[in-house]
């Protein structure tokens, strides 16, 4: 048997999961939220870093920066752990852990005034 190109399905009618429809979101799985939120945090980081460079001493910007870095980074650690072979069935637990560790680390760092 030789490999063949798939027949073009584009010209045949097909349903796709339209993200604009309520139903596509009705059963959104945890893994997808983890992925989506990490990307959103990345975009947020770009904006916040720009604001931070302009005024490094604004407390709200510092708080946002810390929160986004923790959030984005810990979700990244989750992805790395899964990449390195932690079973995918742990992915929900890892998501929860990333959130909890993030909140705990934020509280700890924010309380520790370093200046």
């Amino acid at each position: 048997m030789s490999a063949r190109r798939a027949e073009p399905v584009r010209d045949r009618k097909m349903l796709t999961r339209r993200m604009g429809s309520a139903e596509a979101w009705r059963d959104t799985k945890v893994g997808m939220w983890a992925w989506l939120l990490q990307r959103v945090a990345a975009i947020g980081l770009v904006a916040v870093i720009a604001a931070h460079l302009k005024n490094p001493f604004a407390r709200p910007v510092q708080a946002a920066l810390l929160a986004l870095v923790l959030f984005h980074g810990l979700l990244g650690v989750r992805a790395i752990l899964l990449d390195f072979g932690l079973p995918a069935r742990w992915h929900r637990l890892l998501f929860l852990l990333a959130l909890l560790v993030g909140v705990a680390a934020f509280a700890a760092i924010w309380r520790w005034r370093w200046y």
């Binding site: 490999a3 027949e7 097909m14 349903l15 799985k29 893994g31 072979g85 069935r89």
Partner: protein, 238 residues
């Protein structure tokens, strides 16, 4: 109970048709569809074979989630109207019936077909791999795929990139790459190194969440990716 069933046939417009069924105790979505077809609308098309959760031919999207209709109790769904749609990402044939050819085509494209290698035979015919060996246990879950297509329908990356082979085909590739009797490992790893294949998976695990055989195509894809990375550095098997 109100059922909103997706209706479409070539040449007509798609619509969600409302039906009312009396939800008896222990009734499944498939039972409800059979009931409708028998008593109210003989033109309703859907597919099933075993009725007991083995063949996967009754796969459809119920309330936004891929499920096998014969194993989905109406009593386990929300009380509101139950929507029933055909699988996403497969060409429609009619109503709830889709063409499963893309699964096979993607497998052929990824060369996910067994090719007997040098070790395929031993003195007594096909070489056996013991059920307790490491080799066999590594693919134990993954070989149970029944080709139902639910994972393909659930995958956001399949809908994003039509060239991505999708979880079912890559899961099959994984089982073959770990089979020492197969002789086409090199060809196949060439195929999966193409653009739009392993790199497209973002590990969202939507496939794993819906697989009725409790397979984790996510793990299979990540395992393939680890092998590919090791090979980049010239270590590890194909």
């Amino acid at each position: 109970m109100v059922l909103k069933v997706f209706r479409w046939s070539p040449g007509s417009r798609e619509r969600l048709q409302k039906y009312w069924v009396k939800a008896l105790q222990g009734m499944t979505v498939l039972d409800a569809l059979v009931e409708l077809q028998r008593n109210s609308d003989a033109t309703l098309a859907f597919r099933y074979a075993c009725r007991v959760g083995m063949c996967g031919s009754c796969a459809m999207v119920v309330n936004g989630r891929e499920r096998w209709a014969c194993r989905t109790l109406l009593s386990n769904l929300d009380r509101g109207p139950v929507t029933v749609r055909p699988l996403y990402q497969f060409p429609l044939i009619r109503d709830l019936v889709v063409d499963m050819a893309p699964i096979k085509n993607k497998m052929l494209e990824m060369k996910a077909v067994f090719v007997p290698g040098r070790r395929a035979m031993d003195g007594d015919g096909f070489a056996l791999i013991g059920s307790r060996t490491r080799e066999r246990r590594a693919i134990d879950a993954a070989i149970e795929c029944i080709g139902c297509g639910m994972c393909v329908s659930a995958c956001t990356m399949v809908s994003h990139d039509p060239r991505f082979p999708g979880p079912a085909a890559l899961n099959r590739v994984f089982t073959l790459q770990r089979d020492s009797r197969d002789g086409a490992h090199a060809d196949r790893s060439q195929a999966v190194l193409a653009e739009d294949v392993l790199t497209r998976c973002h590990g969202q695990a939507n496939c794993t969440a819906v697989c009725p055989m409790e397979i984790s195509p996510t793990d299979s894809i990540l395992a393939l990716r680890r092998r590919a990375v090791l090979r980049l550095f010239g270590i590890g098997p194909r």
